[in-house]
Symmetry: C2
Subunit: 494 residues, 2 copies
């Protein structure tokens, strides 16, 4: 077949640039064998005129074809389909064996319960209103600041460095800025050497569990608590010992009772707005807990994921700020500060533990996203993160107060609650036997997604009357709509 | 103190915008207590005139101060330092306990050898030439394509979704595009359900090891081999059984000899350019290996990290393409296609294993970078990745041939080697007792960083004469310079 421009149709409004449309069409004809090797192609001038495009567009298309070895350019003669076409096929392993659908089950044995089960992400259907369990509003995420930092990188020669492998412990710039930030906001006197950057607080918890725990080691956690941590401890082979949590936080007497009976290896605590009940661990209990850790020589894993969000009073400093002995492993996250999908967390611990964590991280996924880490380092340095936190706190403070008022005005006979000092959610108790699963089902039919309260208690077969109602991700209008639907749903049930 | 504009100095050439310079200076004076609550501030008009800036700049500064609650705006009266200043302090846990330097060693016990040791990233000193062990050239990374995709996201409302939590198994768009790409390039007939997106091939190896292996399970790998995988198997508690590798790849008779003696759980193989020796596993041995896996019921972990880079002949399809039984776990990466610092890899396996891998990934770090995954999905869909690979292959092919010629011309009496079919490096044997450690030391003094050959053999106390010489990350000029230095360094030693 000879080439004719009638073979090509282009669409100037398509998102694929015109020169690529031309190049791709030609590659298609060559791959199909319709344009044979050594077939001459028209000059760029003739092609441009026939297609009614600028000549440079055709030149760009031919450059692309040449770069990919689909054409030969013979000086003073013209452009031809390449005499030796690029390899486009692969060799099957054997002539007798043809590619087949991949088997759906392994031939070798896989223990279906080797990994702890935890409830997973579910795709949201439609454009429902959602009362999530306590997430920031991604509409407030400082995306334009991140984009600004990425744009800066685009112009820098040293960006090449960040495209190669980098330090497993995380960006030194970020660790340096973070040590300053932790000092200013949390009274933590740490150096960059005592910090490892992780993928969210989750990875910091995983690293700690894998390094510290051996089979049957005892771990203390609160119930209700954070299943995302509990499952990590179980996965590492630990025995979980659960203690109650009241309005001042974890029950420290219950902790001591366990210590007297068993050798405890690790205690997991969320001191600053306990997940899920939102209570703050009191100063007195913090001191007691540090004293117990020293006396019984266990490690405290302090998960302080929402320290930066407080509205009612100044926050109490972390346990790590008063740790003279080296009992506390401190983990935090920028997932709430920037956005949950931006996975940057950190772990602060004595150097010997950071060394082990860094080695393990090398084995798991080698390193984090260097460009993201450098961008965050700049945002911390410029004060942008501090400014963003101030603004976001002001907005979330207002939303918390709006939700409180709405609950008081419209649901005071249906729910009881205590207002949290900070964070993203209110812990609510349904009164008079209202069933949280049924509420969630009815609300869904009315356009509101709301938690059914599963996953908060370790024994999730027990139907309890509590849910977490996130206020941060909804604006004032949305909060009003959502509470109206919730009130209707509850009314319908009673 | 009353406010006077003499307090403020601004620098219009500074990277911090002028409005932020004004706002930050004022915040500083307020924090220091020099500007007391209720102090009036000048109108924007007067301030703008005094500072010689546009009035909108001052308005923006005041907006910033207001957003952060540092000022009160009283209609028709003016702007005042806020009567109630934002909380800037935190409460110490107890008056008796003051923040202190963080201890450098844990009080609780940490096993310093709990995590396998593997050599770590080292910061490169200065701007030396580097013969790395086989990396792509980050100067060719399609950064502008990634940036184009990120720019597209900036305009889309649905980007908010990608800033929230997402699917632990990875973007469905990416898995769908990848299943098509794997079909076209590798004859793999898999669906999106049989793929999990990981942080590089490294995380796929880690997930496999943690799910399949229990203490003392037997894993077969080649020696020399990839220490980044071997250490993961050891970390999971496995016993390593090492088999030799010759010019056709892993010695399959040695594999069978082990199977006859012990129950083998997993075999790790890099069929397409073995790391480090660059040999390709022959078709015959691939069939033998599949047959052994079926007979002795072990899992094959096929690490095909550089399948997309081949120069001399069409590649042999992966073992996974001929796996009728469900013996093969297939892992790969886009780290070489885009850049090593862009951490996207994948694992293909029967669904029951993918389910376990997804659960474990949820515990480790919850999920990957959604925006990055969506960007890559688009690049695969547009054909941009395919085009980039064609161009990069052409360039690396040329560099391989240049390095071959340089070695023949300048070092033929010092080294022997066999040219690889693809990949990023040539496996070189130093002749006549040349010591690879000494060569590396002398070359470093002459401005060339070159591997000393450690980490390839499992027994790294043994001084062997091999190194891997990466050709892909150096252009032709740099290859010439580097070989000249290497030749001089070797000459100096003899």
């Amino acid at each position: 077949m000879q080439f004719t421009t009638a073979l090509l149709t282009i669409d100037k409004n398509h998102q694929v640039p015109v020169y690529l449309q031309i190049a791709n069409s030609l590659i298609g004809y060559i791959q199909q064998g319709r344009l044979k090797p050594t077939t001459p192609l028209p000059s760029s001038r003739i092609m441009a005129s026939a297609l009614n495009v600028h000549r440079n567009t055709v030149v760009a298309a031919y450059d692309e074809l040449y770069a990919q070895s689909w054409v030969d350019v013979v000086p003073r003669k013209g452009i031809f389909v390449a005499a030796n076409l690029p390899d486009v096929s692969s060799r099957p392993i054997s002539k007798d064996v043809k590619p087949n659908a991949y088997p759906s089950k392994t031939f070798f044995e896989v223990d279906d319960n080797k990994v702890s089960y935890i409830s997973m992400y579910k795709e949201k259907a439609g454009h429902n209103l959602t009362f999530n369990t306590g997430m920031p509003d991604t509409r407030l995420a400082p995306v334009e600041l991140m984009v600004r930092e990425y744009r800066r990188f685009a112009g820098y020669h040293f960006t090449q460095k960040y495209l190669m492998y980098g330090p497993e412990q995380g960006s030194l710039n970020l660790r340096t800025e973070l040590s300053r930030f932790l000092g200013e906001t949390r009274g933590l006197q740490v150096t960059a050497q005592e910090i490892i950057i992780t993928k969210g607080a989750q990875m910091a918890i995983y690293l700690t569990a894998q390094i510290l725990l051996s089979k049957n080691d005892v771990v203390i956690a609160a119930d209700p608590g954070y299943s995302g941590a509990n499952e990590v401890f179980l996965q590492a082979g630990a025995q979980l010992e659960l203690v109650p949590v009241d309005e001042h936080g974890m029950d420290i007497n219950a902790v001591e009772a366990i210590c007297k009976k068993k050798k405890v290896k690790l205690l997991y605590v969320i001191p600053h707005h306990h997940m899920p009940t939102t209570v703050t661990l009191s100063s007195e209990r913090r001191m007691q807990l540090l004293e117990l850790a020293r006396k019984y020589r266990f490690a405290i894993l302090e998960d302080d994921y929402d320290y930066d969000f407080h509205y009612s009073c100044t926050p109490i400093l972390p346990l790590a700020s008063a740790d003279y002995y080296g009992c506390v492993i401190y983990v935090g996250s920028f997932g709430k500060t920037i956005a949950p999908g931006i996975r940057i967390g950190f772990m602060v611990a004595p150097k010997n533990l950071i060394t082990q964590a860094t080695r393990l991280r090398r084995l798991i996924d080698r390193q984090g996203e260097q460009l993201l880490e450098e961008a965050l380092a700049n945002l911390l340095k410029n004060g942008d993160i501090g400014r963003h936190l101030k603004k976001a706190n002001k907005i979330y403070h207002e939303r918390r107060d709006v939700l409180r008022k709405l609950l008081q005005d419209k649901l005071s006979d249906r729910v009881s609650f205590k207002i949290p000092d900070g964070g993203f959610a209110i812990w609510i108790k349904y009164l008079n036997g209202i069933n949280s699963t049924q509420v969630a089902e009815v609300a869904a039919t009315m356009g509101l997604t709301i938690t059914d309260g599963a996953d908060y208690y370790f024994d999730n077969t027990y139907q309890h009357p509590y849910i977490r109602l996130g206020f941060a991700s909804l604006n004032i209008n949305e909060l009003e709509q959502a509470i109206n639907i919730l009130a209707h749903a509850i009314k319908k049930l009673s």
